[in-house]
């Protein structure tokens, strides 16, 4: 079960124009930096990107927006990105905004073989337009469908060539559920370890969900909102 590939270029090999991608991360935390660079280099376009956020102007998915590679974004929050806003307002970019919990669960459902589920989130709002409503215990819920992706691009902390991975801190966020939902899941890790080094009791995503894994490099790990307190 050797899933090891050489680098990001090999990782995203086969991504074609018009495909649907999932990209892990919350803000700039836990984003697949290497895969995004490789996608920019590859120049693929008309992509549908499923990601909680859309990066900032000059980092993350923002780099792909600059190159007009994204046709549609499926996200929960897209502030802090002027280029994104410009493309959205001019109609160049299609945007589907969905509640964050529904986004996470729709990815999870996609990977778990659940085609759809009912959730209370969004009932009575724009999000519910056109969706089936059903009452459970007297409370209204709307039907949300699973999300799938041709490729899921995931950033992990450590992983082995079997594809077993663990995450660090809040860089976990959407990465695990997206890892489950990709037809081809590509994982970039900060530290590639030998099989057996990771304690099986503490593996976050078992290798069964992963098709490709590689040692990432040059992580910038940009901080979006640096907030500190002075030392007393």
């Amino acid at each position: 079960m050797n899933k090891l590939v050489k680098d990001a270029k090999e990782g995203i090999a086969g991504v074609q124009d018009g495909m649907t991608l999932m990209l892990g991360g919350f803000g700039l935390c836990g984003i697949p930096e290497n895969c995004i660079s490789a996608l920019v280099d590859a120049g693929v376009k008309d992509l549908t990107c499923i990601s909680n956020n859309a990066g900032v102007d000059d980092f993350g998915i923002g780099l792909m927006l600059q190159q007009r590679q994204v046709k549609k974004m499926i996200s929960s929050y897209v502030g802090e990105n002027d280029e994104f806003e410009r493309q959205m307002l001019t109609g160049e970019l299609e945007v589907d905004l969905i509640p964050q919990g529904s986004l996470a669960e729709r990815c999870r459902a996609g990977g778990a073989g659940i085609p759809a589920f009912f959730t209370p989130a969004g009932y009575g709002t724009e999000v519910a337009i056109g969706k089936e409503v059903r009452y459970f215990d007297g409370k209204p819920h709307i039907l949300e469908s699973a999300l799938h992706a041709d490729y899921a691009l995931v950033k992990a902390w450590k992983g082995d060539r079997y594809g077993n991975i663990i995450f660090k801190g809040t860089a976990r966020n959407f990465n695990p559920v997206m890892a489950m939902a990709g037809k081809i899941t590509v994982v970039e890790v900060e530290e590639l370890v030998e099989p057996g080094e990771l304690d099986p009791n503490f593996i976050h995503i078992p290798g069964v969900f992963v098709q490709r894994i590689f040692q990432g490099k040059g992580y910038e790990k940009r901080i979006e909102q640096l907030t500190t307190r002075p030392k007393v």
Binding site: F26, E85, L97, A104, A121, T170
Partner: protein, 217 residues
């Protein structure tokens, strides 16, 4: 009138021992600075942590440890990390006892609008729709009126909704109000603010039941 910190301080008085609490961006974040003595609560951040601590000391920030506002944070002893789907399982499954969030408008039946101004601002709802649809106890922290001086406590929201009939309590720079079937019930006044001033700044139905005390800090 209260400032942002005082609004947060008043909301902190609502905290009960043992609660798990989700604080939204803006004024709600400040609530963490005013936890009353003897009250133990744990803060949940929907990007995937429980037991969120204060901002890190300068130079000790970790790019892999942020809150839902993308600010660098720390963790308390006994904290935990999880993925986004488990985070919202906590929220939807009502394992979090209190949600505090900001709003652009609240109606007197408890509807809330805080994610979109058509044609002007579309940033997205983030986790707000999941939070308001599921939490048992939702407190809104906001100014009583907008920059133009118009009431934000309305008969009906004019902006696209985030959730319907979900807000339980509103704490503004002028007042503390409960949402009841008959409208906003005025519970407390900010120091120096009269019932008449609150009435004038409230477009939705306002219930004034006897003497309305000033807030206590």
């Amino acid at each position: 009138m209260l400032d942002r910190n005082q609004i947060a301080q008043r909301i902190a008085q609502e905290l009960q021992n043992g609660w798990y609490v989700n604080l939204g961006i803006g004024i709600p974040t400040l609530v963490a600075n005013y936890i009353p003595e003897g009250i133990n609560v744990e803060f949940q951040s929907e990007n995937g942590l429980l037991g969120m601590g204060p901002f890190p000391f300068e130079g000790e920030e970790d790019a892999d440890l942020i809150n839902a506002g993308k600010q660098t944070v720390t963790m308390m002893k006994g904290g935990s990390i999880f993925d986004s789907s488990m985070s919202f399982a906590m929220i939807r499954g009502q394992h979090v006892q209190l949600t505090v969030l900001g709003a652009m408008e609240v109606s007197d039946s408890g509807d809330i609008a805080n994610w979109k101004i058509p044609g002007k601002m579309v940033k997205g709802m983030g986790g707000a729709m999941d939070l308001v649809a599921s939490a048992d106890n939702i407190i809104v922290a906001m100014s009583h009126t907008n920059r133009k001086g118009q009431s934000k406590l309305l008969r009906q929201c004019s902006l696209p909704l985030t959730g319907v009939k979900c807000v339980k309590k509103v704490v503004t720079n002028m007042a503390v109000l409960d949402i009841t079937p008959n409208g906003f019930l005025l519970l407390e006044r900010a120091p120096g603010v009269s019932v008449e001033e609150i009435q004038a700044a409230t477009e939705g139905r306002l219930i004034i039941d006897g003497d309305v005390p000033e807030m206590n800090f």
